[in-house]
């Protein structure tokens, strides 16, 4: 590990959204490279506070010396998780996939439960915070299989991710239509949770289990000539970075080589002359909140490039603020205060612009920012669809 390269300049600490609001977290420098010097494989992991890190990876983006504090902390989270009994909330959120699947199956009931006071009280009792409305489960999830919308020569296997699947399959279906409009043959391959929630809750074994299942499925599609396209930036980062990295998935590198961010892929199609979308007017001002994990993908901001070509659309970028929710992080009651504080800062900057919509690639960012601000949050794909006049109606 590269912690010896740390020159203790504290630039990472200045960029840590958690450190700024929660004095209990010693910051990425001390939790990462500093503490790592004293950690030994021979001793039991003892820094429970490593779980106060939300894994936004802002420290890694800021470090001038190429140290990866978040990665050091992530590894320590896995070690701690392995050597100590899992708490109920950690287990719950690591298994978010099964929980959501259950929620979707019983959607009317589950949504009713999560919206009543009694339900909220019970959620709080088990350590789940309820400051923003719990996302509504969707009864109708994404149907796997081939979407016979187009017969183009480009073939895409769409990794939609849990958020789209269980909560907002309408966005997922729009993305399928968007890709079809680019003359692409779309398939929804068999897929499971990407594994990131399990990783974030210190459960490497479970994360690997999910990752391996996905890897086998996606790998078959790559062999059959498909490109993988993901829409959720956190799923994407996990697939590109953690599959070949900390999870050591054998097919990891191969999958990373063939996986594209949705908007990156559309731009690729346009550049190759394969697709020629004609973007229509969308007269509106939007605040584009850049998810931390999009920054961490190191591909720039492709959705912004596409949106910049939409006539009438006025777009202001916010990439200095984290939304604070970080997937399951903010839903844990002991992180609630931290998540709200971080989110409010982002919201106060967005509100100053007078933007009509918040746009963000990440479902959990949208949930948090919409919950805290009351401004409707959209996926960039929804803006593109609006501009191209693509709807879910036939």
């Amino acid at each position: 590990m590269n912690y010896e390269h740390c020159i203790r300049c504290t630039i990472c600490v200045e960029n840590c959204p958690v450190f700024r609001v929660n004095p209990d977290f010693p910051g990425p420098k001390q939790a990462g490279p500093d503490a790592q010097r004293f950690r030994s494989e021979k001793e039991k992991a003892q820094d429970e506070w490593v779980f106060l890190c939300s894994q936004c990876k802002r420290c890694e983006m800021a470090c001038p010396c190429g140290v990866e504090p978040a990665q050091i902390i992530l590894r320590e989270q896995q070690r701690y998780g392995k050597e100590h009994p899992q708490t109920a909330t950690h287990l719950l959120f690591a298994n978010n996939y099964y929980l959501s699947a259950l929620g979707s199956l019983t959607a009317p009931l589950a949504n009713k439960f999560a919206s009543t006071e009694t339900g909220k009280n019970i959620l709080r009792k088990i350590g789940i915070s309820t400051y923003i409305p719990f996302p509504k489960f969707s009864f109708r999830t994404m149907r796997q299989g081939k979407k016979n919308l187009n017969k183009g020569t480009k073939k895409v296997a769409f990794f939609y991710g849990c958020f789209i699947n269980f909560y907002r399959p309408d966005i997922g279906r729009k993305i399928v239509r968007l890709l079809a409009a680019m003359n692409v043959d779309v398939v929804l391959p068999p897929q499971w949770c990407c594994g990131l929630p399990a990783l974030g809750n210190g459960n490497l074994a479970l994360a690997k289990y999910f990752a391996q299942k996905n890897a086998s499925s996606l790998s078959d599609y790559i062999d059959a000539g498909y490109d993988i396209v993901y829409a959720c930036t956190s799923c994407g980062l996990c697939i590109l970075h953690d599959y070949p990295g900390i999870m050591e998935i054998p097919q990891g590198k191969k999958i990373a080589e063939s996986s594209y961010n949705l908007h990156e892929y559309i731009i690729k199609l346009i550049n190759e002359g394969y697709a020629k979308p004609e973007f229509g007017k969308v007269r509106r001002k939007i605040a584009y909140h850049i998810p931390c994990h999009l920054r961490a993908l190191k591909i720039g901001y492709p959705a912004q490039k596409l949106m910049a070509t939409i006539p009438g659309l006025e777009c202001e970028i916010f990439d200095d603020t984290c939304c604070g929710l970080s997937g399951s992080y903010g839903f844990k009651e002991n992180n609630e205060f931290t998540a709200i504080q971080i989110g409010n800062r982002a919201v106060s900057l967005i509100k100053k612009t007078g933007a009509k919509n918040i746009v963000a690639d990440c479902g959990s960012c949208r949930m948090q920012l919409e919950g805290l601000s009351g401004i409707t949050a959209l996926d960039p794909a929804e803006i593109l669809c609006e501009s191209l006049n693509i709807t879910n109606q036939k």
């Binding site: 609001v21 004095p23 001038p64 080589e257």
Partner: protein, 401 residues
């Protein structure tokens, strides 16, 4: 519209890189900036040292040794670059005070005077000599600022300690933007009944709106207030970086973070693309021209080994003072370490000398013979050479079309 094709790619996010980027973007070029992380500008005092060897920076520059890169830039461009900087910073809500014809002093965290040319307006009221009495307001538990150093050096200096409830510079600075916190702070200060001429704060008065915050304290207390730059984490340095970054972005520049350049693609006399690490497909960005503003050793532009010094991005020939014995003076605190002269020699068009590349332009600390510590010319040189590099690069790009 490619994600990865630009007119210019800037390497390095310091004052030099961001300024060149903004200048080129203003001229209508499609600009991207790649950087390993945040620049050493974040660790700086935020002051713009132009040349601290003389009372008048312009005279100081004239007296620099002939090989100094400042001589590549004419006086008009130097003046223009500082004016441009002041306009940009005013636009970004972080005005700078000072004049190119006269250096001024800033009180350092050790109680000494630091000579600089342009300073953030939050430091404008700093005493220029030892006569003014000062009351320092510091914060409980703060680890990077000790008023004792200043009190022991200056007469008529006292200090009080405020309990902000948080103990890091960053956390206190972000509290200052909160209205309730600010009111609590002012009520507490009111009770101090300060007699001294001036009030000093370590540089923690906010992140985005420091200038307004310091102003309001001064108005409410009826006395001049100034900030004292701290050791890193340095808020004035961060504000400078944030403002330049915001301006660059406003002009349409794109920034790629955690993007250390590890390889290049070239044909003939041209660099075609730069590449970074990637778990998946090769991650590269194409451009017609490249600006190298990676700084020297701390910034990551140069690496020294036991034997020699290398340039990290394009492997350009590095100018060194001589064999290793000449790199360091025996006195650690000496300003005459030969290593301060290491860097890349450029021609008048800011292209690297003795190298085949036609589309690389250099600016800032990567240049040879700067001796930044000795001459006190870091940010000033960065801004001036940024203008020169942007000019050459723009001419090249227009000509190439």
């Amino acid at each position: 519209m490619s994600v990865t094709e630009y007119d210019v790619v800037i390497i390095g996010a310091g004052a030099a890189g961001l300024t060149t980027g903004a200048l080129l973007a203003e001229r209508g070029f499609n600009v991207a900036l790649v950087t390993t992380g945040e620049p050493t500008a974040c660790l700086s005092t935020g002051c713009i040292d132009v040349c601290s060897c003389d009372e008048n920076p312009l005279t100081g520059i004239k007296n620099l040794p002939p090989e100094h890169p400042f001589h590549l830039v004419d006086e008009k461009t130097i003046r223009q670059s500082l004016n441009y900087f002041q306009t940009v910073m005013m636009d970004m809500g972080m005005p700078y005070a000072g004049s190119i014809e006269k250096n001024r002093s800033v009180v350092s965290a050790l109680g000494t005077f630091k000579t600089s040319c342009l300073v953030p307006s939050t430091m404008e009221a700093a005493p220029q000599n030892n006569t003014d009495s000062i009351h320092i307001v510091t914060f409980k538990g703060i680890k990077d600022f000790y008023p004792g150093y200043i009190v022991s050096r200056r007469k008529n200096t006292n200090f009080s300690v405020f309990d902000a409830g948080v103990y890091s510079i960053m956390s206190i600075a972000s509290r200052f933007e909160d209205k309730n916190f600010f009111e609590r702070f002012i009520i507490w200060m009111d009770k101090l009944r300060i007699d001294e001429d001036k009030i000093a704060l370590p540089a923690v008065a906010g992140l985005e709106s420091a200038s307004e915050i310091v102003n309001s304290i001064a108005v409410l207390m009826g006395k001049p207030v100034f900030e004292i730059p701290t050791i890193p984490p340095s808020m004035p340095g961060r504000r400078l970086f944030n403002a330049l970054k915001k301006y660059f972005r406003k002009k349409g520049g794109a920034i790629y973070w955690a993007w250390p350049v590890v390889g290049t693609e070239k044909t003939g006399k041209l660099i075609e693309a730069v590449t970074t690490h990637s778990e998946g497909r090769p991650n590269s960005i194409n451009a017609r021209a490249f600006i190298l503003g990676t700084g020297s050793f701390v910034g990551g532009g140069l690496t020294a080994t036991r034997q020699d010094i290398t340039e990290n991005v394009f492997n350009l020939p590095v100018h060194i003072s001589g064999p290793r014995e000449t790199w360091f003076d025996n006195d650690y605190f000496s300003l005459n370490h030969g290593i301060g002269r290491a860097g890349i020699i450029v021609d008048s068009s800011m292209r690297p000398a003795d190298s085949p590349w036609n589309n690389i332009f250099l600016c800032g600390g990567i240049l040879a013979e700067t001796e930044i510590l000795k001459n006190g010319c870091g940010h000033g040189l960065a801004l001036a050479t940024a203008h020169a590099a942007a000019q050459s690069c723009a001419e090249y790009l227009s000509h190439e079309l």
